[in-house]
């Protein structure tokens, strides 16, 4: 139902491109700027020891008011169990990736999966769900950021709508910086519908530059940082 095939729209495009052509830039000008400012031509790519990356990630996350709970892989389930017992959520949104949460003894917490589509689920998602648990695609140390790659199993609104977002972050997928993970994983070949970097609970400083947490996104971000060993 778009109108980008009408002749009117085409004429707007052509008019704009024609006006840009008045600059008189040619192939020589384009050749002259090839590769300028590109990441490859710089020493942005670093090789830092994992323990320093981890410390940077934790420091930045905590500075942004995220809660970081560290554990080793074998303790992951217990760690989450303890957290959920502490928090006593009424309704907890999970996915098949952490299906084992359903079987935990966490008092009155009701665990649910995302419905087939958001349309049938929206009201509940907005009103009744207290928290959601998701996995993550990796993390970035220098900015304290978590990479989320929502998909059909973990839809985007899981990490957005409920007031508490619990996210499992594997240390082995931690990268020094954004440029590096993008290059290493060749993101330009495989961008999904939506990818997000999350660096803390939501916040704003729009009222007299005073920082307040819990604007429209989750007001709590709880990071379960899982070490391989």
């Amino acid at each position: 139902m778009s109108n980008d095939n009408t002749s009117h729209a085409n004429s707007a495009k052509n008019n704009i491109l024609q006006r840009l052509a008045l600059a008189g830039l040619d192939a020589n000008d384009v050749a002259a700027v090839k590769g300028k400012g590109s990441v490859d031509s710089l020493t942005l790519l670093v090789d830092e020891p994992a323990v320093e990356l981890r410390q940077s990630f934790v420091d930045k996350m905590q500075a942004s008011h995220a809660e970081v709970i560290a554990c080793v892989k074998t303790d992951l389930q217990k760690t989450i169990n303890d957290l959920l017992v502490r928090k006593q959520f009424k309704q907890l949104l999970i996915s098949e990736r952490v299906g084992w949460v359903k079987d935990m003894d966490i008092g009155d917490t009701q665990c649910l999966y995302f419905a087939d589509n958001i349309e049938s689920f929206k009201q509940q998602l907005f009103t009744d769900i207290d928290a959601a648990i998701t996995t993550s695609h990796g993390s970035i140390a220098d900015t304290g950021s978590i990479i989320l790659r929502p998909d059909s199993v973990e839809p985007r609104s899981m990490s957005l709508v409920p007031p508490v977002h619990i996210v499992i972050v594997e240390e082995q997928s931690m990268h020094p910086n954004f440029a590096q993970v993008m290059k290493q994983e060749q993101w330009q070949t495989c961008m999904p519908t939506n990818m997000i970097l999350v660096s803390g609970p939501s916040k704003t400083a729009d009222i007299q530059q005073t920082l307040a947490y819990g604007a429209h996104g989750p007001r709590e971000l709880i990071v379960i940082l899982v070490a391989a060993v």
Partner: protein
Amino acid sequence: MVMQYTPQTFKENSAEALADDTIRNNFRGAMDFLQAKRATVLPDKAAFDVSSKRGEAIKLRCLVKLPELLEKLEDQCKANGIHVHWAETCEQATQIIDDIITAKNGSKVVKGKSMVTEEIGLNDYLAEQNIDCIESDMGEYIVQLGGETPSHIIMPAIHKNVEQIAELFAERVPGVEYTTDVNSLIKVGREQMRQLFLDADVGISGVNFAVAETGTLCLVENEGNGRMTTTIPNTHIALTGIEKVIEHLADVPPLLELLTRSATGQLITTYVNMISGPRKVDERDGPEEVHLVLLDNGRSQAYADEELRKTLACIRCGACMNACPVYTRIGGHAYGTVYPGPIGKIISPHLIGLEDSKDLPTASSLCGACEEVCPVNIPIPSILQRLRVETNKKSSSAAKIMRGEGSGRSFIEALGWKGWAFFAVHPALYRMGTWFATRGRKLIPTFNNPWTVSRSMPKLAAKSLREQLKERG
């Protein structure tokens, strides 16, 4: 209809703002705060020189290749399922957006923060079509509540202090009592918006970077309203100026880093949202339709000129206005333009015409504080000087570079400078002039002029330096 100052009355607007102690204090406090924040994340001048040169190089490359990149962006977006529309003018853009909303029978529109939507006057336009369009960004929400326009491109409500906001909420939000507790005020905003996000059928956003290589729209924010706007409603419309196109995905990290550090003194914003298409068949949420509207509105005029093209390198960080001694004192509304501050002065003549904005390029002492903090090295003082040349141009048959060229030309002033230049290239005449001035200095009548309203007149010496040196031999 939103209260609006106009750029044509810039001098009156600024006089009014200068006399307003609340504006003076609010802005001084806010600018000091933002400059301090920037300094904590960009403490090293040499390092900033390196990264800003890189930012400049990236933007230059993308601008030189702009026509090709726009077509690539369109192709990639379409391949991803994003509809692409081109708008030459604000009217075309609002019409396109209106048509999309109408086609989807949309009635509740939620907006993420977008200065380009301000540029096209979207809120007022939709209101006239009886379509509710509510701002979800906290600062924009405050501004909309107060019937105003944003006064800063990053922090829209920066002109208000907490008491003013508390009063506004108590007055205009049902069931809210006066409180200056910021957390409580934010909670009010969150609660008001929540139902709106739920109910909205169309979400409208801006774009920070539009990546041609992958057909990806990158948006940055701290609040989460941008993600809400672009995720929950069934239709997402993204609006951007054509200059925001970036060539490679790999160009995003260095520009992102410069943007967040320059804008709010953050290493990164809470959310960096990268959208590359509508909801896929197997996905369970996200908009089923995504539209991208590309707006020209005068940007192509800046593009055609090599020097003025640099104006389009702007990544809309706002650092220039934070550093500007003029903006700090008159605030954002006095400019009367959608974009205020130094960037506003150099972009507005292209968007609305030099004839309507001719007081803006002269409203600068060319101190260079803006250029010093610009993360993509836009030579703002040089461009201001160039715009002054364009304002004063004599009408001729030569092809016009800018709409409104020559609209500020004053015959008297032009004659004055010609006369002055004549003296300055004829040293004998110049010497005679200075001789008369120094000898007759006590006869020069003191009369009220824009200098003497606040400063004593400079006193001339008895004998010029030139004369004294001539006498020495």
